[in-house]
Amino acid sequence: MTNTEPVYLDHAATTPVLPEVLVAMTEQLGRVGNASSLHASGRSARRAAEQSRERLAEALGARPSEVLFTGGGTESDNLAVKGLFWARREADARRRRIVVSPAEHHAVLDSVEWLAKHEGAELTWLRVDPSGRVTPEALAEALGDGSDVAVASVMWANNEIGTVSDIAALAATAHDVGVPLHTDAVQAVGQVLVDFGATGVDALTMTGHKLGGPMGAGALLLRRDAECTPLLHGGGQERDVRSGTLDVAAIVGLGVATVAAVGNRVERAGELARLRDRLVAGVVDQVPDAQLNGAPLDDVVRSGPGRLPGNAHLSFPGAEGDALLMLLDARGIECSTGSACSAGVARPSHVLTAVGADPERARSSLRFSLGHTSTDGDVDALLGVIAPVVERARRAGMGRR
């Protein structure tokens, strides 16, 4: 164990709260007022929430009325996928198909699996290329004439391997056959250009804690013409689609964080890509058989980088991800193996499996993700220990059958 501050290379899990977010939220927490109340305190709370809605909308190319505040990315994904499915099927009972990528986050995957099990949905899995990307051709093929499709969902950028899909092209493809497209942009906002209106998607998931905002605060951007059946019924807040007293302090924090992350995006993305490229080159220099998963570092799509600038996802053949994580953790370096089950058991990543990696490669992988507090010192710290850590993990792996 180390007594110094940990080297945090897990920004894709969550990222430190920005100082200006802390200030804005602390101020708001000290004020009374339900944004639905009619008196002065209520008006003051509502003003704070609506200002935040307007700023967030502007930062993401949406109209304020298209911003629905939620409890975070998981809720937004559930609301979009289930709500659009229910509403579209209600309008036309033939629409029972959901077209979805197998590399989605579990908030989408488990939602569509639930709809298949309990609501009669039929799932069509999209082909993904070896980098994890969904192409317009693959989407068109899966949609067919679209008449029996309720909703399609493709993430903007993958949370594990960082691959970016061309969401504008996918939205156009879906709209060609009259199908709405939802995209999970939790990892994309603040790292690549996300313009809701220009992209044309019908629903977009984002969350606060991946870009310097609070946990438990997110939004679903939902086009005004998109019918969406609510998950939560009650006071009729958020266009009647998401009832519940607005968490004004969290919404204020979410707005401040989004504006800051989007405003500094170009400069920060360049810095993250520089650090990330150093990290990958340094690791491969010391562990020559390490393999980069996902798109190449310099990959591009029409909207910009084809890979999140802060994402480095590497496999270390012969070593197990959980042994590597433990050994790095003991040296004060924090990263991730991708997914763990609710009990904490490391599982082979479903994303790597979806892109055709064998289970051994999936089990031997680590995700290093950089963010707004990352420095050259963080990369140096990793490069200072990675070779002996991999060597030791490989020895530990040999004892297993």
């Binding site: 164990m1 959980d322 042994a323 994580l325 433990m326 050994l327 953790d329 003991a330 763990a340 089950c341 609710s342 009990a343 904490g344 058991v345 490391a346 030791r392 993990a393 020895r395 530990a396 792996g397 040999m398 004892g399 297993r400 059958r401």
Partner: protein, 365 residues
């Protein structure tokens, strides 16, 4: 020392980890996920390694401020413990899966991996004393677990720590309560962890299917009934035989013959044995010179009995008991102890029981 604490989520391993931290070791907690289909919540005192147990272990680790991970050993556990358990029953023997788990999982798979990762020792919440390489019974006779540790070798013991052997279970719970551990009042585990409903016969029936055979009375040689599988029986068993023989005397299982699927039963006077033949022995220290006198325990929670230990065939032992014992089942371990009232009986080693019988008027089963 860098120490790996195996944390089940129970009170014993929680306190053992805490004591290792107190002793100044650099401790890392690990919860072993041993079942591929984990229950979300614990059901009663049975079963283990549910998601809730992992949570309980993690809570303690977080309070102790130590790193904590879950290791997925479900495949190894299935191969080395569960499959072995089923195969032993299939062969007409009565295995002890806890002993097998200590031998193959905790002090082989976990210890090997721990050492490869740079740890010096594995600490567990077993109730047994270990000092100077000598394994002894716990001071709490009712909770003593030295029997299921009797299979460990000197090398394994050299990298093991059992901090609870010197205290009673009540004291363990007191320590947990003093530290505010939520598991202080958690129920003790019983039975076999991978059979959470406690129905061993039903578990084996699902694995092995129906394999009917005869129940034969030892005195007359007559077939007195049928059974659905020899795996439903253990030598010494009295209840659940499903037969009644005319004389109303209680009958015991005397022997199980897996090839002909014959279960032999007989009256109490035929059920006793005073000589045991074993498979190759393992020793906790240097192998003792044969023959020697010792005490032997023939099952978990069994009563030790004086014996003379002699060399048998193929590295096995012949154990001559001072008193006739009933219910001596092949597959169980004969764990040998050197009595020591002051420091605790010392475990010398163990050997799996193969045959048992009477020295005079030999009835071999």
């Amino acid at each position: 020392m860098r120490v790996l604490a195996a944390m089940s989520g129970g009170v014993d391993s929680a306190v053992a980890a805490a004591l290792a931290v107190d002793a100044g070791h650099d401790v890392t907690g690990v919860h072993l996920a041993l079942s591929p289909d984990r229950q979300t919540l614990r059901s009663g005192a049975r079963g283990c390694c549910s998601v809730e147990d992992a949570h309980d272990a993690r809570r303690v680790a977080d309070e102790l401020g130590i790193p904590f991970y879950v290791w997925d050993l479900a495949d190894r556990f299935r191969e080395d413990v569960v499959d072995d358990f089923v195969a032993e029953y299939e062969a007409g023997r009565t295995p002890n899966p806890c002993l097998r788990c200590n031998e193959k999982i905790k002090f082989t798979a976990v210890l090997d991996r721990a050492q490869a990762l740079g740890f010096d020792a594995v600490v567990t919440g077993h109730h047994a004393r270990l000092a100077g390489g000598e394994l002894r019974r716990s001071v709490d006779a009712a909770k003593d677990q030295s029997y299921v540790l009797g299979v460990l070798t000197p090398a394994q013991l050299a990298s093991a720590m059992f901090p609870l052997g010197g205290m009673t279970k009540d004291r363990v719970r007191e320590i947990a309560a003093e530290r505010g551990f939520a598991v202080a009042t958690k129920a003790d585990s019983h039975d076999i962890c991978f059979i959470p409903d406690g129905d061993t016969r039903g578990f084996l029936a699902r694995k092995l299917g129906s394999r009917p055979g005869p129940l034969v009375d030892a005195a007359t040689g007559a077939t007195v009934g049928q059974h659905d599988g020899t795996y439903g029986f253990t030598v010494g068993q009295r209840r659940g035989l499903g037969v009644s023989v005319g004389d109303q005397q209680p009958r015991y299982v005397l022997g199980i013959e897996p090839v002909t699927r014959t279960v032999t039963i007989g009256t109490a006077d035929l059920a006793g044995v005073d000589e045991i033949t074993t498979a190759a022995a393992t020793w906790t220290g240097a192998a003792p010179l044969l023959p020697f006198r010792a005490q032997v325990q023939l099952r978990a929670h069994g009563t030790p009995v004086g014996c003379e230990v002699l060399a048998g065939e193929d590295g096995g032992l012949v154990v001559r008991l001072d008193e006739v014992q009933r219910g001596v089942a092949a597959g169980q371990s004969a764990v040998l102890y050197e009595p020591d009232a002051e420091r605790g009986d010392r475990v010398l080693g163990q050997a799996a029981i193969r045959l048992s019988g009477k020295r005079q008027g030999t009835v071999r089963h």
